[in-house]
Amino acid sequence: MPRAGANHAHALAAARRALAAVPGASASRRSGAPLDLPRESGDEPRLDRAPALEAGDDAPRTVPPLAGPLTRAFLDGVQRTERAGYAGAVPIVHASCAAVLRVRDEEGRLRTWTHGFARSDALYAPVSLLPDEIVRALEATELGLRDTGADGNADAHHPLSLDRQALDLVRSDRAQLERALAERWVKDGDGWLWVDGPLPGHATSRAANVFGVVKSHRTLYADDGRLEPILALRAGERSRVFALEATTRVRVASWYLRLRDGSGDGPLHGLVRVEAAITDVPVGPRADSISALVLAERQPLSRPDPRWDVMAYPIRDAESVLKALL
């Protein structure tokens, strides 16, 4: 188990020392500032069509009370980025990624699963844009160097674009950690696994005992583009199940679920989207069962987190653990 807060700072300091020793490179003196990136076009709010997977109209479905055992495990991941320095105008980013899988015991206490923690630390930079001696110096550090790539597009050489590419790779590495833990649970774990965000990876997207809970709604999915039935959901109600499919991922079932009413707090207050594998079980009853699991986590509140209306307390707990360990 890494020491809390120690590795990131030590690794960053080591990287900065290495950069400071190489002619043509400079170590950043700023500390604690994550990458500041402009909004991408892909981040704009949008609506996507998704075909219905459940029979019946798009009227709200009231979720029945929980009949089975509670969710047993919760998975979340986090990343921490910081500029270690520059080689000319090329940013060299240091990132720590970590994921944790917390299990709940019979007394309701959360603890990290035996195989439930993973982390990685690395430097991120476009190798093709760096002088050889800097590449060698960075590769010689204990962190290793991850190539963020750079194509011939002139825009891609914009320092902020370089940051973006680094951040994309960091996110990918974090997702990889989450995916590995989720797959380990699918293999060795016992009980339901709650993943914070979309289902990670193919194996997890096919597992019957895993579901993902998405808290942000930059993209809203609706059959026939009709949003009203979703935004009109009341606490304890779910939408009709629809299918999510993309070339890069396995087709999964998804639906919206209102955790809390919040008149005056906006239509997205207390609204989450749930993802789960499509199995032999009929999608309606399966969506009811999983929705009941999600609703059961409305207490205790995850305040003071600003996303308390959609964040389950065990996920906040996982974030606290990651924050302490990273």
């Binding site: 959360l110 059961a296 207490q299 205790p300 509140l301 305040r303 003071p304 307390y313 707990d317």
Partner: protein
């Protein structure tokens, strides 16, 4: 035997932050929620960085405890459960919470350099750790063991005997012990009884004999020290652990003055079966006059009066006094003699129309006559008219012997007189090495009353101060107790090297003297169970909580139930009760015959004489005393005396 340190799992870990740093005297650590740690728990910290090649070990005692959760405000919980506390049980997850403890450093090894406590694992202290932490290892060595048991430290799986150092309890390095706590809940009397048991069992033989003088100031508290009490298995285990035999005191003698009628002693220990070691405490004029100033109001008695008292003490008492102002020679041995001398002198002065006698003004003489005459009234029962004393066994105190002086039924003046004389006499004899033992523990309860911080500067208070400040050089040890330590003279409690605290009153704990204690320690003091004490001792860097066994002696109220006090006796029954234990032939009929023939005062005087001399044949002793005297009463038939019940010899409760 304690487990080796490396075999134990840590129960916590030291944390130090900028806002909550470690210091050389304090550190903080967190534990699992179910760790057996609480206020008073002793822990060991294994440091990770060696200093001069040695890994420091720090011992601490928990003095504060905090717990909190990740909740930002209480309102979050209210909102989270819709204001329904019952809904909390349905929540699937328990909030993350922390147990954070603060510990005061007891000892660091090595002692130099004294550094802040570093981060490290925290372990539950073993019995060996406790001995090191409290520096008991310095005086529990085989050859020079001066440990006196005070109780057992218990926390988690650890039981460790706690020892005081006799050199700091009885002297010569330091001395005196003070107990404080709420009446009835603090078990002050029990603690003293237990401490004396431990002292008698473990006091090093090479330091000479030790005895105890206990003043019983209320009820039957100390009146059954020689009777076995009820003990539980846990008590017996503690006795075994601490090397003390679970039995009552083997050698106890009780002293009590007579009641106002002088027929029976003014004590609740008056059951016939317990009279073997009960003795009257009576003093004559000589003894009382030595301490007359105890009883006289200082505002009332000026230098002139002092001079007259000195004159009487030096030139009148126990001498044949002849003077032209006196109608006859006076031999003053008792208060009655003194009164006769005063009366004759004043009569002579009036007849001669003189207003002074040997430089003493007649008004002073009248005043002192009045004051001294009052003593006999105020201390009736203690002061023997005839002048013969029945006293503590001066010059012959026994080793491991307890002398209980029962003053519970006396007026305040008489109590003061007894304190003053007994303690002065103890001091005097210890100073000269004549007492028979080298150390005496004097137990005084209700110190609030006898040495009040803001009370008058009485003789008793000055004497207690004197013991507190100089007693340790003499072997005179003050074991004092009170309900409110803050109300006792500071120099008395301040000189007590060892302080024991039972359950305390919240108001008392709010006084400035307790501000040196951490708030959590004060809270624990206010909730201590019976049988628990907080101990401060010179070797202990911080107070430590212990549990002590119930004393192996009968509790006062149990004693009263088992040995009910005898009913107030008439003259004849009183004679039989007191004399029969020396001579089984003494009968009620014999006593009735004596009472019919002789004056009560005379009979009681002969009884007192008999009690001092303890002849084998009481009847012959009495007969010899009356042989030369004609009966003062006309003999009247016994049946003619008014009696509620005519007792035949068969009904004689003391036998025929």
């Amino acid at each position: 035997m304690s487990a080796p340190p490396e075999a134990m799992a840590p129960l916590g870990r030291v944390v130090a932050t900028e806002k909550r740093p470690s210091t050389p005297h304090e550190f903080h650590f967190w534990t699992a929620l179910d760790a057996p740690v609480g206020i008073g728990t002793i822990v060991r910290v294994a440091a990770t960085h060696a200093i001069s090649g040695q890994l420091p070990v720090v011992y601490g005692v928990v003095s504060g405890a905090l717990a909190w959760s990740d909740m930002a405000t209480p309102l979050d919980d209210v909102l989270g459960f819709d204001g329904n506390p019952g809904a909390v049980a349905n929540a699937p997850t328990r909030r993350a919470e922390i147990r954070l403890y603060t510990a005061a450093v007891l000892r660091q090894l090595p002692e130099e350099p004294l550094q802040p406590v570093s981060l490290g694992d925290v372990f539950e202290a073993t019995a060996d750790d406790v001995a090191i932490a409290l520096r008991m290892d310095g005086y529990l060595q085989g050859g020079t063991n001066t440990g006196i048991p005070i109780g057992v430290y218990r926390a988690g799986g650890t039981r460790a005997p706690i020892w005081l150092d006799a050199d700091f309890l009885v002297g010569p390095e330091a001395a005196h012990v003070n107990l404080t706590g709420i009446s009835g809940l603090a078990t002050k009397t029990s603690a003293v009884e237990w401490l004396l048991s431990g002292l008698f069992a473990h006091f090093p033989a090479d330091k000479g004999g030790i005895a105890a003088v206990c003043f019983n100031v209320k009820g039957p508290d100390l009146l059954f020290l020689d009777q076995p009490g009820e003990l539980g298995d846990d008590d017996r285990a503690m006795y075994a652990e601490l090397g003390v035999r679970a039995e009552p005191f083997q050698h106890v003698t009780y002293f009590a003055p007579y009641g106002p009628k002088r027929t029976s002693l003014a004590t609740l220990r008056s059951h016939e079966a317990l009279q073997e070691n009960v003795q009257p405490l009576t003093w004559g004029l000589k003894e009382v006059l030595q301490f007359a100033e105890v009883l006289l109001n200082r505002d009332d008695v000026d230098a002139k009066a002092d001079a007259l008292i000195d004159f009487i003490r030096e030139r009148v008492v126990e001498q044949v006094v002849e003077d032209r102002m006196l109608s006859r020679p006076h031999t003053v041995r008792s208060f009655a003699d003194l009164e006769a001398w005063f009366k004759d002198l004043l009569k002579g002065l009036e007849a001669a129309n003189q207003d002074s006698w040997r430089t003493h003004h007649i008004a002073t003489i009248r005043k002192i006559r009045n004051r001294l005459g009052n003593i006999a009234l105020r201390c009736a029962g203690l002061v023997a008219d005839e002048g013969d004393a029945s006293d503590l066994p001066w010059n012959a105190f026994g080793d491991r012997h307890v002398y209980v002086v029962d003053v519970a039924n006396l007026e305040e003046d008489a109590q003061d007189l007894i304190f003053a004389r007994v303690i002065s006499k103890l001091r005097e004899q210890l100073e000269r090495g004549e007492l028979g033992v080298k150390q005496v523990v004097v137990f005084v309860d209700e110190l609030n009353r006898y040495a009040a911080a803001d009370g008058p500067d009485t003789y008793v208070r000055r004497m207690l101060l004197d013991i507190a400040e100089r007693g340790r050089y003499l072997g005179l040890v003050l074991a004092s107790a009170q309900q409110f330590r803050s109300q006792v003279h500071r120099r008395i409690v301040g000189n007590a090297a060892t302080a024991l605290y039972g359950r305390m009153d919240g108001e008392e704990l709010a006084t400035p003297g307790y501000q040196v204690l951490a708030p959590a320690i004060r809270t624990r003091l206010s909730t201590l169970d019976k049988g628990q004490l907080m101990v401060r001792h010179p070797h202990f860097a911080q107070p430590v909580f212990v549990r002590f066994p119930r004393p192996a002696v009968m509790r006062g109220r149990d004693g009263i139930a088992k040995f009910p006090p005898a009913a107030d006796a008439g003259l004849e029954e009183a004679l039989v009760r007191t004399l029969r234990r020396f001579d089984a032939r003494v009968s009620l009929q014999w006593a009735q015959d004596l009472a019919a023939l002789h004056d009560e005062k005379e009979l009681l005087a002969i009884r007192d004489q008999a009690l001092r001399e303890r002849p084998a044949d009481m009847r012959a002793f009495f007969a010899s005393r009356f042989r030369t005297k004609a009966p003062v009463k006309e003999r009247t038939p016994v049946a003619a005396r008014p009696r509620p019940i005519l007792r035949l010899s068969d009904d004689d409760p003391y036998g025929g």
